[in-house]
């Protein structure tokens, strides 16, 4: 599903590489944690996968295709098959929770009936059905994060990527969200979670990719947070 071949990424104005020579391969149906301290390059990695940015060097393949060579008109279809929960949420503040979620359906050309059915369902999954009519700017950070998750889920994408999905949540809710991601994974969806939540990583015992200052320093099945070289 996702394949990185000696991928390096350097942002325009920066001297340092955000990612350096990173290689890995993720197959369909996997659940993968991407861990590392702040600035390790976790978000950068996810941004590469949805082609928010292009790698400076190396080959990044998503759904078997080199995303650097993906023509612009194919971008919408790539992004519709990946549900992304952004670290900075990227919600439309002056719209309601349901509008934000409906948005992702609407751009794919879903019918009104479809939207009316799917949006409440997915808001129920993340526990936000009561807040459907509230505007996003009136929600707490944790609630906004869950709106982002609902939006990522609503299209039933084949890959879900969550950047720090538990960052603003209390441990109980964080666990709920992670359990939700796990059940989605069990239904066949590939899940990538970038996090530095040690407890959760250790508890779930899934594949862990370790990043440190842009370098991949470990990739373990059933890993735990602390990587020992």
């Amino acid at each position: 599903m996702v394949e990185a071949d000696n991928v390096s990424m350097k942002y325009n104005r920066c001297k340092q590489y955000a990612l350096e020579d990173v290689s890995f391969s993720i197959s369909r149906g996997e659940f993968v944690f991407i861990v590392g301290s702040s600035g390790a390059g976790k978000s950068t990695l996810l941004k590469l996968i949805i082609r928010e940015i292009k790698p400076t060097a190396g080959l990044m393949k998503v759904f078997g295709k080199d995303i650097s060579r993906l023509p612009r008109r194919r971008l919408p279809s790539l992004r519709r098959s990946i549900g992304m929960v952004f670290q900075d949420f990227r919600l439309i503040d002056d719209r309601t929770v349901s509008e934000n979620v409906a948005f992702a359906l609407m751009v794919t050309g879903a019918s009104r009936r479809d939207i009316r059915k799917k949006v409440p369902h997915v808001l129920g999954l993340v526990g936000l059905q009561e807040k459907a009519k509230e505007r996003v700017c009136d929600l707490s950070g944790g609630e906004q994060q869950r709106v982002g998750l609902a939006r990522a889920l609503v299209n039933r994408p084949s890959i879900i990527m969550a950047d720090e999905p538990t960052g603003n949540l209390d441990p109980g809710t964080a666990l709920d969200i992670m359990n939700l991601l796990r059940s989605i994974n069990l239904s066949g969806t590939t899940v990538l979670v970038a996090t530095h939540n040690r407890e959760i990583v250790d508890r779930f015992k899934k594949r862990v990719i370790y990043l440190d200052q842009g370098k991949l320093i470990g990739d373990e099945q059933k890993g735990i947070y602390t990587h020992v070289r």
Binding site: I50, R79, L91, F103, V107, G109, S111, R112
Partner: protein, 295 residues
């Protein structure tokens, strides 16, 4: 996209227009002025063509006979006119004939008016001159003849009109071109304001997989609507203005200025103004979106 998307696009279009209503009104206003001018020029042009056509077939000088003139004096006048060296042809037109022509010109407007009882129109002699250039001199001379009420000459008048409008047309063209460019600029600026306000939203839309067209539509519609309103308003103004001119011309007995009927003329104008207006709007909006779609 045209199932749920359509409602969204229409909603966004009007929201965008409302949020920038002042800029919107300004841009639309410039389109209105541009197309109003263009429409006016087209209207004048069409009618000048029409008038010169009809004038060519018309007599050159009309000598109206005094209402109370004795039959003898009228006969003398006829003799005087037809024996003039510069006159080629003299035709008598009775007041009844004038009334009949007027009724034809005005269509049904004088329906039921009993001209036999009360006919305010004068009888006249219509005169063709040997050389058209002498029209003005001759008209002045005829005015001094006894039993003459007024003398009228059409062609020279129309030619003057021609000369004036010829210059006006060049000035107008230049002005219109300038205005059209301004209109495009203003429309694109107005839409850019909406784009800027929704910049974040547009980027988000891109990341959840919106196609460029989906994002573009509301902005295109915004421009298109401004252009369309900018074309319809001048058409309405021109329609009433023109209707008024027709009535004014008729009311002042200037029936040699035979204007074209209003509806077909305005319809003809619409064929040009509406595509032009919407075109200006669409060009304006395409200038403003491009940059934001490259994410």
């Amino acid at each position: 996209m045209f199932v749920s998307g359509l409602g969204y696009i229409i909603g966004e279009t009007f929201k965008g227009l409302y949020r920038n209503r002042w800029m919107c009104i300004t841009s639309t206003g410039v389109v209105v002025v541009t197309l109003l001018m263009l429409g006016l020029f087209m209207l004048v042009n069409l009618n000048i063509d029409h008038i010169t056509e009809t004038v060519k077939e018309q007599v050159e000088i009309v000598v109206y006979i005094e209402d109370q003139a004795a039959q003898e004096a009228v006969n003398d006048l006829y003799k005087q006119l037809s024996e003039h060296r510069q006159v080629e042809e003299v035709t008598y037109v009775s007041s009844e004939e004038h009334m009949r022509r007027l009724q034809m010109q005005l269509g049904g407007m004088l329906e039921g008016y009993d001209s036999a009882l009360d006919n305010p129109l004068l009888a006249s002699y219509e005169i063709k001159t040997v050389v058209p250039e002498s029209v003005v001199e001759l008209a002045e001379e005829f005015e001094t003849y006894p039993a003459v009420s007024t003398v009228f000459y059409g062609q020279g008048y129309v030619e003057n009109l021609f000369a004036v409008t010829g210059v006006l047309q060049y000035v107008g063209m230049a002005l219109m071109l300038g205005l059209a460019v301004t209109a495009i600029f203003l429309i694109s600026h107005t839409i850019k304001l909406t784009v800027m306000m929704r910049r974040k939203e547009i980027v988000i839309m891109k990341y959840v997989g919106a196609s460029n067209w989906f994002i573009r539509w509301p902005f295109l519609m915004e421009g298109l609507l401004m252009g369309l309103v900018g074309a319809v308003v001048p058409l309405v103004i021109l329609y009433y203005l023109y209707q008024y001119s027709i009535e004014w011309v008729a009311g002042n007995n200037l029936y040699f200025l035979s204007l074209l009927p209003a509806e077909p003329v305005i319809r003809e104008l619409a064929k040009y103004l509406i595509p032009l207006g919407t075109g200006l709007g669409i060009i304006g909006s395409t200038f403003s979106i491009g940059r934001f779609l490259r994410v």
